[in-house]
């Protein structure tokens, strides 16, 4: 009997040697004359255990991690293929607390299926959402998505269904579905995991969106820093086309829908939706003033739905299980689940999908297991380079759009970056301004000039040059950027700067006491 073994091909597994492990296992099996089928999957998101080998057994998948190529012989000697005990044994993968505590809706199949197989996707519930969508028709799809309470997972949190309704109500003409896969926020990798681990769910979500609003063509705009995701999406699109799930008469219906991958070119600002549309049109990625909204005048001047990967990838389960099922998870106006990404100086780095409402402290201390260095945690940045820094005193903040806004922060795309007590928050504030200066598209003055002046101001404050006066000027500058910038780049850069200044004032003076104490 052939043993089925699963090893991730997710770049998060490749970056710690998953290919080398797979090759070593393949060679060892050949030498020993063992009948082993190696299936390359996405990642479960428990990256500190990668590369993980999972073995299919009647009781479930038994895991071994983190495996090095040199461990293969001892693993096979220990009877790994029959689930035998070894010092790398993890037991049943789905019983690992980090995994067991999750509610996996968007990520239901990631790490389980072969992302390059349409059959495997369908065997695990794939395309049930599309079946339902085809059965109920465009108007009911839009209503279902509105009722689910799904909000844009890219960061802005705008209700997805409302965007769709706006595009659906425009007169029939060429319309587009654009998937924003320009995941540039440090601390985030959920979009990448979907594209590498379950790309067909994104294709299904985009197809449903196309049917709902009357669009026949979609683009997935992926950043060039994601080579594995680009390849995985292209392969999956071809599989879907070959299987009749893209192109004319999608799944045998009257609808036409096709998708193309476009690759970005290293501009962070292109994650902003209007800048992304400019880039897709082949121009400089400069932000557009709104209105008009992309829903009315979007790509090539046509009505366009532009959604984040996670928003679109969540649509299939909303359709197959119903809006009520989805909206019953969560709290307040934050419905459903959020794929939270734990990153930086953290013991258990990875993806944790859970209903909204868990506290920040629970996430980083209990789920994340504290810092990797073992030193005290001093600050966490939530929501990427434009998100606020939180001190321990705010760790009781529940993970929810409104609660984070109330705490002068944002959840953004759900990334949490952990820093230990060696961090200098003055330097982090300077970096936020510096990053904004590097990445500014240059269209609006508050962002273009403000960020450059911001770097200088932080430098002066750190050098104790007219400290009190310059702090006032920095606060004023942040206010101008926040309310005067065209998009979130200039508009949100004040979050990390002001939160660092507010919560860690001791790092902005001539005597950084904390730093001295930490050393």
């Amino acid at each position: 009997m052939s043993a089925r073994v699963f090893i991730s091909r997710d770049s998060g597994a490749l970056c710690v040697g998953a290919d080398e492990v797979a090759l070593a296992l393949f060679k060892a099996a050949e030498t020993r004359g063992l009948d082993v089928t190696i299936v390359r999957t996405g990642s479960r998101g428990m990256y500190w255990l990668e590369p993980t080998i999972e073995v299919e057994r009647p009781e479930g998948r038994i895991g071994y991690g983190s495996v090095k190529p040199g461990d293969i012989d001892s693993l096979l000697d220990a009877g790994m293929l029959e689930g035998g005990k070894h010092h790398l044994s993890l037991g049943l993968v789905e019983d690992i607390p980090f995994f067991k505590k999750q509610t996996r809706l968007t990520f239901a199949r990631v790490g389980i299926i072969d992302p390059r197989s349409l059959e495997d996707y369908k065997a695990h519930g794939g395309y049930k959402g599309l079946d339902k969508a085809l059965a109920v028709g465009p108007e009911a799809i839009v209503e279902e998505v509105v009722n689910s309470g799904l909000r844009g997972r890219g960061g802005a949190g705008f209700p997805t269904g409302i965007k769709w309704r706006t595009v659906a109500q425009t007169p029939p003409q060429q319309k587009y579905i654009v998937c924003n896969a320009d995941e540039g926020d440090s601390g985030t990798f959920a979009d990448r995991m979907i594209m590498e681990g379950d790309p067909l769910v994104l294709i299904e979500g985009m197809t449903i969106a196309g049917i709902a609003v009357g669009a026949t063509y979609g683009y997935v705009y992926i950043r060039s820093e994601y080579p594995q995701a680009i390849e995985a999406m292209e392969i999956a699109i071809n599989r879907a086309r070959e299987g009749g799930m893209l192109g004319a008469n999608v799944a045998g219906s009257k609808y036409t829908f096709d998708i193309e991958v476009r690759v970005g070119a290293g501009a962070y600002v292109c994650g902003e939706e209007t800048s992304l549309l400019e880039s897709l049109e082949g121009k400089r990625g400069e932000v557009r003033a709104k209105p008009p909204l992309p829903a009315h005048v979007g790509l090539f001047g046509k009505p366009t739905v532009i959604n984040n990967v996670l928003s679109l990838a969540t649509v299939p389960i909303i359709m197959s299980e119903g809006a009520t099922y989805y909206r019953d998870f969560g709290m307040g106006r934050s419905r459903g689940t959020m794929p939270i990404q734990l990153a930086g100086n953290i013991q258990h780095g990875g993806l944790f999908e859970t209903a909204f409402g868990m506290s920040l402290g629970e996430l980083v201390d209990e789920i994340g297991g504290g810092t990797r260095t073992g030193r005290p945690m001093r600050a966490v940045q939530v929501g990427g380079p434009l998100g606020a820094y939180f001190p321990r005193s705010l760790f009781d903040t529940p993970f929810d759009y409104e609660a984070f806004t109330a705490a002068d922060g944002l959840i953004g795309h759900g990334g949490i970056v952990v820093f230990d007590d060696t961090v200098n928050m003055g330097r982090q504030a300077r970096f936020a301004m510096e990053f904004c200066a590097i990445e500014s598209c240059g269209k609006c003055t508050p962002c273009r000039i403000g960020s450059a002046r911001g770097v200088e101001l932080v430098d002066k404050i750190m050098a104790d040059e007219d400290r009190a006066k310059n702090i006032t000027v920095l606060e004023d500058l942040c206010n101008t950027m926040k309310f005067g910038s065209l998009c979130a780049l200039g508009g949100f850069t004040p979050y990390p700067v002001m939160s660092a200044l507010t919560h860690f004032p001791e790092d902005f003076g001539a005597s950084p006491k904390r730093l001295a104490a930490a050393e």
Binding site: T188, A343, V417
Partner: protein, 158 residues
């Protein structure tokens, strides 16, 4: 390891022609040109402009807007170290300084023997395993420490 072609007008015309009928063709064309030549040669800019019925200034503006596009080919290997927050939190700044010192170049520069170009990148989406790096187009590295970085630098210089 990528190998680049030397400038050839006909080759450039073929590349441009293969992509020019796509909607919003500029980025696909520029990526394809850079893939072939290692950069966007200055002579290619008027050719792209003409093919897309745009001005040279518009294409020049597009090329210079994006960090990815180069005006001269990089070294034999391109090593991108992530300098974003997650990697900073995990000791990335010290590794970045070490890489500069060992290679004898600053970020954005190529070693004198033209073997390695060292560049900063702002996030590779490997933040669960920071610090991270990318070698050439698609070789990813995570959980870097001094030992792993030194091995990576050695590989890049080989």
């Amino acid at each position: 390891m990528p190998k680049y072609e030397s400038w050839d007008v006909e080759r450039a015309s073929t590349i441009i022609a293969a992509h020019k009928d796509q909607d919003g063709a500029a980025l696909p064309i520029l990526h394809a040109l850079q893939h072939a030549f290692g950069c966007i040669p200055e002579a290619a800019i008027p050719m792209v402009a003409e093919a897309l019925n745009l001005s040279r200034a518009e294409i020049y503006g597009t090329v210079t807007f994006y960090h990815d596009f180069r005006n001269e080919p990089p070294g034999r290997r391109v090593l991108k170290l992530c300098r974003a927050e997650s990697c900073q939190a995990a000791g990335g700044d010290a590794l970045a300084a070490r890489a500069e010192e060992k290679l004898g170049v600053k970020f954005g520069e190529t070693t004198a023997d033209a073997r390695v170009t060292l560049e900063a990148v702002y996030c590779l989406g490997l933040c669960h395993s920071s610090p991270a790096a990318l070698l050439d187009h698609d070789r990813v590295y995570g959980m870097l420490d001094e030992v792993k970085l030194d091995a990576l630098l050695k590989e890049a210089q080989a």
